[in-house]
Structures are given as C-alpha cells and as structure tokens.
Symmetry: D2
Subunit: 115 residues, 4 copies
Amino acid sequence: MALQQLEHADEQMRECIDNCLEAAQVCEWCADACADEGEEMARCIRLCRDVADLATLHARFMARDSGYHGELASICADACEECAEECEQHDHDHCQACAEILPECAESCREMASA
Amino acid sequence: MALQQLEHADEQMRECIDNCLEAAQVCEWCADACADEGEEMARCIRLCRDVADLATLHARFMARDSGYHGELASICADACEECAEECEQHDHDHCQACAEILPECAESCREMASA
Amino acid sequence: MALQQLEHADEQMRECIDNCLEAAQVCEWCADACADEGEEMARCIRLCRDVADLATLHARFMARDSGYHGELASICADACEECAEECEQHDHDHCQACAEILPECAESCREMASA
Amino acid sequence: MALQQLEHADEQMRECIDNCLEAAQVCEWCADACADEGEEMARCIRLCRDVADLATLHARFMARDSGYHGELASICADACEECAEECEQHDHDHCQACAEILPECAESCREMASA
C-alpha cells in the first residue's frame, strides 16, 4: 500500500504503517476464525485481538504524526512478538499467516520505538 | 457517568452515550470470557466484538456531535438486539450481564436513530 | 497491500479493505494538518476524522467477515463522498490527496453495501 | 457508570475504566469544538485526539482484562497529563472541562501502570 502522499513520513515509517495494517488484518481474521476451533485457542484469540487494536492505533498515530507513536510502537512490538510465538504453534491457515506476518511488523515497530 | 459538561448533548443523548459505553464494557468482557468456553460460543464472541466496536464508536460520535451519529445509531441498535438474543440463551454470568444491559442500549440507540 | 491470505475475502473485498485503509491514513494526515490552517478548515477536520474512524472499522469488519460490514459500508461511502467534496475545495496538499483517494474508496464501499 | 458486573475488575480498575471513558468523551468534545477556534488550538486538538484514542483503548483493555492494559496505562497517563497542561491555558468551556477531568484520569492510570 505504502501511501506515498504522506509527506511527513519517511520510508521507514511508511513501511511500518503498512506492516501494522497487514498485522491488524491478519489478526482480525485469526481471532475470528479461532472462535470456531474451541477453547484451546483462547490465548490466540486474546493476543490477536490485542494486536489488531494496537497495530491499528499505532498505524493511525504514525499517519497523523502523533507525539505518542513512539511509545505505542514499543507495546505494539511486544504484542506482535508474543502473538507470533503463540500462533506458530498452531497449524490452522490463519495462525500460520499470523506467524508469517507478525515478526516483520514486530521488527519495524521495534525500530520505530528506538528511532 | 453522564458527563454533564457536554454542552451540545441533551439528556437523551447523554443517556445513550452511557448506555453505549456500558454495552461496550460488558461485551468486551463477554467476548473475552467466552473464548474459554469452547466453539459453541463462537457466535456470541463475534456479536460481542461487533457491539463493543460499534457502541464505542457511536458513543464517541455522539460525544463530538458528528454528523454521522444518527446513521451509526441504527447499526448499533441492530447489533445490540442480535447480541442480546444470542446472549440470553447462555447461562454464563457474562452472557447474562449482556442480556440484561444490551436491550436498554438498543432502545436508546433506536431512539437516537429516529431523532 | 491486498492481503492475499484472507481466505474468506474475494478480490472485490480485498480491494475495498485496501481502499478503506488508504482513506483512513490520508484522512488522519489531513485532519491533523488542517489543525494548523485555521477555523475555515473545521468542516474538513470533522469529516476527515469521521472517515478515518469509519473506514478503519469497515476494513476491520471486512477482515473478520463480520455480519455488519455491509451496513457499515453504506455509512462509510456516504462519509467518503461528503469528505471528498469538502477537500477538493482546498488547495493544501493533504486536502488534494484526500480528494484524489476518497472517491475510489466511496465507490468500492458502495459496491460492498449492495453486494 | 462503574459497571459492577465486571467480575475480574476490582474497585481500582472499575474507577480507572470510568475515568478513562469520561476523559475520552470530554476530549472528543474538546477536539471537535477547538476546530472552530483557529490555529492557536492546534496543539489542543492533537493532544485531545490522542487522549480520546488512548483512554478508549485503555478502558477496553481493562474491561477485557488484556495482558497489555498495564503498558497502555502508562502511555495514557502521559497523554492525559500533557493534555491537561495544555487545556488549562485556555478559557473555553471545553478546555476547562478537560483540565478538570484529565488529572484524575492520569492519576488512576498511573496507579494501574504500577499495580
């Protein structure tokens, strides 16, 4: 997606916005799909919901250059890492998609947090 | 809660904001707690998540007197009604709390939609 | 962006998700930037904030295949159209970017609403 | 409001949820109203928007007992404090309402962050 129009955002921030919005999408899907798989997926549902909320807000804070995007980046990275570790233990397509997408999001959020 | 300071909001709108924020809280709790109860609660999780999102945004749109609060009121009422019907079929404390709180929220949203 | 992994989403829905997430980004930026331009931009700020919220929630509802995505699509289309009309009257880069991006989002939301 | 039904939440958390939801309402109002007051309110709009988003998400994370509510509490407290300092410099009713409500929210978020 990489919205080239965002004048205040450099390449690193644009990439982080994209990663966060992808993470949010895949976690919305995974949280929803896990509801059909029984109580052993409870932790996955919870972490996916948290990532969906945090990554969405982080992307929006970057898009409007909020003074709090850096603080949020750090929480978002934590949640992505914990969620990726949980998801990689499950064979469902949605969990595997999370496990594939979230580490890159975690990494770019970690870089934004220390920028 | 009823924030008396909101000058643009009459008593009906303040009450609807309160109802929406209560609905969002109880649905956040219910969606989370249902994750431990197995796949027969999947529909409950989904509807509670939708109500939590819709009621929160509806409350925020009323708090800032957005021109779109009336359109959102109608969807929010629909979701509260469908969610209350689902929740009242389950004996869990969280489902019973939803079934108790959501009808009043649905009613006040319906009134705001036609105001 | 177009997250190919979302198994439940056909090409039309994936495109609408992308359009909504672009609309949300550009409107976050425009609402923020307009705050520095004085009170004649008040209507632009308000409409951009509404689009940012509605388009974000619409994208998330599609990503999780919520039963309410169709109802939300219609409001989102309305808000995008009204916001695009407002933004095209202003020469600022951020307003012009909104005026360029929002009509496509409005159109795909309208199609989703009637699907 | 204080939703007594939330079984996992003790009195301190319930009070923090209430404070966050009041902070979100008053900041939605203030950000909206400041748009009519000209560019000297730009910082106030920005901080109010950030508080509205952060306090809302913090309240929702507490309502569902998310593992990330403590990390979010700390950012929310920072934003409430910075916003209160900005708002108390302005005589508008909405700014004075923010200056009155936000310090209590900041304090309870700070307590939740260290709990």
